[in-house]
């Protein structure tokens, strides 16, 4: 499905088809609501295309199949949700250390533990800070529309290969299950040459080993420093965000993922009431647009973070602001999305000097 025509499509199917368009050669997955349609779609399409598909025995199996496939330079993906993404954290730490271009989709549900299948944004910390061991960083992209599910899936595959770093697409149940008009277009990125590192058999050369086992203390230190320097380069080149109406704003509504939709609407509603509101949304949660938030704070704008968790991105916004402005939190842990009306009335209270969660 490569077409400039708009189609009405569900978020999960959009991610799956975008993976195919991006050249994903192997998909490995295990069912979990609310993302199961990704595996269902690909179980039909991948064999038709002669590509790899395995209904894995577990999420541990699935992510480690991605490790194996991506070590050979092939574009490989798994998808899952929240509590099952938790099972993949060990392998993500390995994949980072091994510099493997693994693509992982998390269509978030509510936690902790089994939680439930309604939408939530409680995996911000898990995605951005990781549940795996050691110093590591993955790239995290947070779509807010079905169109962005497509666009960021393309970008996920490109960034993973360009930087040899795992990338997570952090969507949520709302996006996974909703239908919206969207346009696939063609995969817009160039193919990355992986021949210098990919394992393809030691033909005409010595064998290559990809491993995270540390053999020498100094070498280990240099490796971690090199990987962190690489991530600084990623931050410099790839940090992305969107903002509007921030220029004259007194208060900036900040959200990620599908909550972005509601802060946009809330900003319009607040403007109609004469409140100078603007909105800001990080597209890359990792690397995080710390610098831009600091600039806005320095201009004297207060912030309010709106998210469906107990204040996870809130901490990063507060860190970015570095004491230059007020930052407040409007949140609910999971379930019914914070409505535009709720956000507007909370912001009005905040603007009235009642800082409910004032820091």
């Amino acid at each position: 499905m490569i077409s400039d025509k708009k189609v009405l499509i569900k978020g999960n199917y959009a991610i799956a088809q975008a993976a195919i368009n991006a050249g994903c050669q192997c998909y490995f997955g295990y069912p979990i609501t609310p993302q199961t349609e990704i595996g269902e779609y690909l179980s039909a399409k991948m064999p038709e295309l002669g590509r790899g598909y395995v209904c894995a025995e577990s999420e541990l199996g699935a992510i480690n199949m991605v490790v194996g496939a991506s070590a050979t330079g092939v574009k490989a993906m798994t998808s899952s949700s929240s509590c099952a993404i938790a099972l993949m954290q060990e392998a993500l730490s390995y994949a980072y250390s091994d510099e493997l271009p693994a693509v992982v989709v998390n269509v978030m549900r509510a936690g902790p533990g089994l939680g439930y299948v309604y939408p939530a944004q409680g995996d911000y910390n898990q995605a951005v800070y990781g549940g795996g061991n050691g110093d590591y960083k993955i790239i995290v992209l947070a779509p807010s529309t079905v169109q962005e599910c497509i666009d960021y899936t393309y970008r996920a595959f490109y960034l993973a290969q360009k930087y040899r770093n795992p990338v997570m697409l952090l969507a949520d149940g709302l996006l996974g299950q909703m239908m919206e008009p969207a346009c696939f277009g063609e995969y817009p990125y160039p193919e990355v040459d992986v021949s210098s590192w990919a394992l393809k058999g030691a033909k005409g050369r010595d064998g290559k080993a990809i491993y995270s086992c540390a053999r020498d203390e100094q070498e280990h230190i240099r490796k971690i420093e090199r990987l962190f320097a690489k991530f600084e380069l990623i931050a410099e080149n790839e940090t992305s965000y969107e903002e509007d109406l921030t220029k004259d704003a007194d208060i900036v509504l900040t959200a990620f993922g599908s909550m972005t939709r509601n802060i946009k609407a809330a900003t319009r509603a607040l403007r109609e009431k004469g409140i100078k509101a603007g909105w800001f949304r990080p597209i890359t949660l990792s690397p995080f647009p710390t610098k831009r938030i600091y600039e806005l704070a320095k201009e004297g704008k207060d912030f309010v973070v709106v998210e469906m968790n107990m204040g996870q991105m809130f901490k990063d916004v507060k860190y970015a602001i570095n004491g230059e402005a007020h930052v407040d939190l409007i949140n609910r842990p999971c379930g019914e999305w914070l409505s535009v009306e709720e956000i507007v009335s909370s912001v009005e209270k905040i603007m009235g000097g009642k800082y409910a969660n004032c820091i």
């Binding site: 025995e57 194996g68 005409g204 990809i210 491993y211």
Partner: protein
């Protein structure tokens, strides 16, 4: 002058030998190297290595290798093979890796009939961490975490890997071999070759369980350790071919 014995071509020339004196890993890896040479597989081989003493296979063999997390070598091998059906893919694991933490991955790789070969070193203990009770520890065996010996009340029973794997419909070949004597080493090589060949013929999963000595953690001399393989392990873990679709 006639050369009657040499290092296999695929073995590296500059490695530091890291295994304990009397450990059978060296013999097992040499057999793997000899077969890679004989079947001319070096240029199409990708190994999925494991965690434990077996992790260092990439120090000894001059082949492409991806180090899988503990227990996940068969899953990683599945990924390699599905992405590269034309390559020769094998795992080299210990019993803790294959049969304890990785049993689900191992079993399901066999059930799917993945065209990969898996080698598992069974030395009845976790070697690298210093000799703890594991899935293959024999009844009565004293380890650092079974100080009064393995008993059924606390520890249950040892797993018989080769028989279990043979029960999977996707398995093309499953055998148990030992390295305690020259005849057994020769049989081990034949079994390993078969486990490689069934993959090359596209017949399914190939598996070889290798009974091996661990003198350090058994607190034995190399000779005593090989005697233990013969006298204590083989009666519990009988040698033989449990499945061979080419013979059916």
């Amino acid at each position: 002058m006639q050369t009657v014995f040499s290092v296999p071509k695929v073995m590296k020339k500059d490695f530091k030998f890291t295994f304990c004196p009397g450990c059978d890993h060296g013999v097992a890896m040499r057999l793997v190297a000899e077969i890679i040479d004989e079947l001319d597989l070096k240029e199409k081989t990708i190994c999925s290595s494991a965690i434990g003493c077996s992790v260092f296979i990439y120090d000894f063999l001059n082949i492409d290798c991806i180090e899988a997390p503990h227990g996940r070598a068969c899953a990683s091998a599945t990924g390699v093979k599905r992405a590269n059906p034309d390559k020769f893919v094998f795992t080299y694991q210990g019993d803790g890796d294959f049969a304890s933490i990785g049993w689900a991955e191992s079993m399901h790789t066999a059930l799917r009939g993945e065209k990969v070969s898996a080698i598992c070193i069974n030395n009845t203990t976790y070697g690298m961490t210093g000799g703890q009770h594991g899935p293959t520890t024999l009844m009565g065996q004293v380890t650092t975490t079974s100080p009064f010996g393995r008993n059924k009340e606390y520890y249950g029973y040892p797993i018989k890997m080769a028989e279990h794997i043979a029960l999977c419909d996707g398995t093309a070949f499953s055998a148990r071999v030992a390295l305690d004597s020259i005849p057994h080493i020769n049989q081990a090589k034949q079994a390993l070759k078969k486990a490689f060949e069934v993959q090359l013929q596209g017949l399914g999963f190939g598996f070889v369980e290798i009974l091996s000595s661990c003198p350090t953690n058994w607190h034995m001399t190399p000779k005593q350790a090989h005697d233990r393989v013969r006298d204590e392990m083989i009666p519990v873990f009988p040698l033989g071919i449990f499945k061979d679709v080419t013979a059916e």
